[in-house]
């Protein structure tokens, strides 16, 4: 069972059909457990009160916005280096999902910031980096939508995705240097996390739930895209035959 075995979309579609029900079940159960923990078990923060509940969705969205970009980068390598036929399907389908999650990271952050900092938006380092990431997602989608030929669009956006991967750490560093007001990263800080287990466990469960949701939607979108391309091919064959 190697990755290349699934270069055949028919086999891939078969696998997706087998996985999807389990994935759907796992996603729903994880969300149920996570949300129950968040709303009925997790304590209020002594400083932030109940608004800390926003963290349980804001932080997973922020993680996924980066995870989704990494998925696209891996797919871009697959397109350019190994020419895996499903890689560009994967990259194309991940972009709108990533943009949606990045938008939600920004929106929930803004809704958390208003009661905590007294303003909807501050130009602090992390918010600004995520905003730049959001613009990059939109640029990638725009590029994919503008080039008509799917293969050429895939290659152009793969190049841009990889350029983005190289640049994201530099952008992050520059923006950090530029200004910071946000709380320092507290979960994956060196020397152990400072967040209490009563909050960390629901947060991690919510993160797993959102990751499962991402995989679920991504696989369904990939299935749609494969069928869309089949239709395109069949229409071309039909048009060629009609001549």
């Amino acid at each position: 069972m190697r990755l290349i075995d699934y270069a055949n979309p028919t086999r891939f579609l078969g696998l997706v059909a087998k996985i999807l029900p389990w994935l759907a079940g796992a996603t729903i159960v994880t969300f149920a457990v996570g949300l129950w923990l968040v709303f009925f078990r997790a304590p209020a923060d002594y400083q932030q009160g109940e608004t800390v509940k926003i963290m349980y969705i804001h932080v997973p969205f922020a993680w996924l916005s980066m995870f989704c970009y990494m998925t696209m980068a891996a797919s871009a390598l697959g397109t350019l280096v190994w020419r895996h036929p499903l890689a560009d399907v994967s990259a194309k389908c991940a972009a709108p999902i990533g943009a949606a999650f990045t938008f939600l990271a920004l929106a929930t952050g803004s809704l958390w910031g208003k009661p905590m900092w007294g303003t909807w938006w501050v130009w602090d380092a992390r918010l600004t980096s995520v905003l730049v990431l959001f613009i990059m997602y939109l640029g990638l989608i725009a590029l994919q939508e503008t080039i008509e030929d799917p293969l050429r669009a895939a290659k152009a956006s793969a190049v841009l995705t990889l350029v983005g991967v190289v640049n994201i750490p530099i952008i992050k560093f520059s923006v950090d240097w530029w200004n910071t007001l946000h709380q320092p990263a507290s979960v994956f800080r060196m020397g152990g996390s400072t967040i209490d287990a009563s909050m960390l466990v629901p947060l991690l469960i919510m993160a797993v739930a959102f990751s499962l949701l991402f995989v679920w939607i991504h696989l369904m979108a990939m299935r749609n895209e494969i069928i869309r391309r089949r239709i395109r091919t069949m229409r071309m064959i039909e048009a060629a035959g009609a001549e």
């Binding site: 109940e50 369904m220 299935r223």
Partner: protein, 76 residues
């Protein structure tokens, strides 16, 4: 369950997230249905892809490059 002074912000952020996620989900499901319907229509009209249509097409090489290429649906 008491959400404190800022209940509106908490509900708004969860509500917005649900709205966007459900929207994304609905788009994927509806798009999938539309695509499958179109595929069924085409198949009903008797259009086949190269990989299925060996009987009608003349000499179709089954080499690796040929069978791998049309998989993403490019008729080039």
């Amino acid at each position: 369950m008491d959400l404190g002074n800022h209940a509106g912000f908490i509900l708004a952020s969860y509500g917005l997230s649900i709205l966007v996620v459900v929207g994304l989900f609905a788009w994927v499901v509806l798009d999938g249905r539309a695509q499958r319907r179109r595929l069924a229509e085409l198949e009903a009209r008797g259009v086949h892809r190269r990989s299925q249509g060996q009987s009608q097409s003349q000499s179709q090489g089954m080499g690796m490059s040929r069978s791998a290429q049309p998989t993403t649906g490019d008729a080039r």
